[in-house]
Structures are given as C-alpha cells and as structure tokens.
Symmetry: C2
Subunit: 129 residues, 2 copies
C-alpha cells in the first residue's frame, strides 16, 4: 500500500527539486538554512520549505539527523542519478529513446551556441581518445 516506506525512488516534483539543488550544493543544512537559500529566489515561506523537506524525506530522497532540537537534512539520492533519470525520461518521451535525436534537435533549433558546439566537439574527441 504505502510505497513511500518501501520504494527508495519516488518522483521528485519541481518545487522539491529546487530544495534538492540546495542540498546537493551545500551538503547538510537545517530547514532555516535551506530557506535562506531558496525562500528569497522563489518567494516561499519557511513552512513551505518544511513541507517540501518532509515530502522529500518520505520519498527517501534526503535523510535527517537530529541535532539538538532540530534536524539536519542531507541528500541521499545522488544528483547524477536524478539528472540521469530526468534526462532519460525526456529522451524516451520525445525522441523515442534516441539521445542523438535530442542533440540534433538542440543543434537545429539553435539552442547550441558556438561555444557549446566547440565543447561538444572536444568531448567527442576525448571520448574517441
């Protein structure tokens, strides 16, 4: 019944993701510290951040450690895993699973700058070593 207590990998929503970014960036923080980082940018209040944090705990994306009367929050899910999952979802949904099609699209729609192109080229060269 209750997936959240079993499944270690639940879908992370947009707002939750903003919180994750802060934790990935800074490692371990209290709720108030997270709020300092995001409440300004997104116009949230501390209660909102707390809700997001507890949902992330339920989803087993982060974990808590008691520190006196408060909690320290730190990420469990690795950023690379999240990024990889989301990228794969997109590629599957929109490009039939062909990552090259995504790159082609980016190139054609001019989402890639000269600089991007150069970087990719360098990357390819490296991959072919």
């Amino acid at each position: 019944m209750n997936k959240s207590s079993e499944n270690p990998r639940e879908r992370i929503s947009d707002a939750e993701h903003a919180v994750m970014e802060v934790l990935w960036d800074r490692g371990t923080l209290t709720a108030s510290e997270v709020c300092e980082e995001v409440c300004g940018k997104r116009g949230w209040s501390l209660p909102t951040v707390k809700t997001l944090l507890s949902r992330l705990v339920q989803k087993r994306a982060i974990e808590t450690r008691p520190d006196g009367r408060r909690f320290l929050y730190s990420p469990i899910m690795a950023r690379a895993d999240y990024v990889g999952g989301e990228s794969k979802r997109l590629v599957d949904r929109l490009f039939g699973g062909k990552a090259a099609s995504l790159v082609a699209h980016l190139a054609e729609s001019e989402a890639l700058s000269e600089n991007d192109l150069a970087e990719i080229e360098a990357l390819l060269k490296e991959l072919k070593q």
Copy 2:
C-alpha cells in the same frame, strides 16, 4: 482569472502529450480514431480520451472543426515547439541552461551509443559546413 481562454501556451501533461503525438502523427482525427491509436497502448477508455481532447482544446494546443454531428481534432501547437520547450525546460532546470552540459552528461553516463556518437559527429561537421 481564467488563463486557459487567453494564454495560447499552457503546459501539456503527460497523458495529454500521448494524445498530441497521435495528432501530430496523423494530422486530423475524430475522438474515436484517436482512441483506436492510444486506448490499446495505454489501457484507456474512450471517455478518457475525450477528456484529454477537451483539455487540450482548452489549452489551445489543438482545435476542432465540426464534421456533421462530431468533431475533427487537429493540432495547433507544432511538435517542434513542444519538443523545443520541453528540452529547454530540462536544460534550464538541470544544466543551468547549458545545452553542452546535457550532452556531456549523456556521454558520461553512456546514454550515447557508438552510433549516436557517430551521428552527432556528422551533425557537427555539417553545422560547421
């Protein structure tokens, strides 16, 4: 108040996207024809498809033309626009807007096959003409 009647570009959900794909593929269809295409694959019923279609009409992603007592549905939003928008969202959210970072991630996570790499390389060559 009511964005749906003003804003021509509303966010398309996952299920709605499945319907859009059919319309992009086939052009203009009746509700039943759409259902024939997707109800099998996704285990939906005709009413579900009709709901999705009317939501898409509200979101101004598709339009209807009366044909006798029924409607013909056809896309307004271009697939390329949708794909571009979604790709941009992802790149912005996860890669700080740097498309090259997305490509780098795909490469590093081995989401790119030999074939993909070759294709991308060819693309780059072409772009630099």
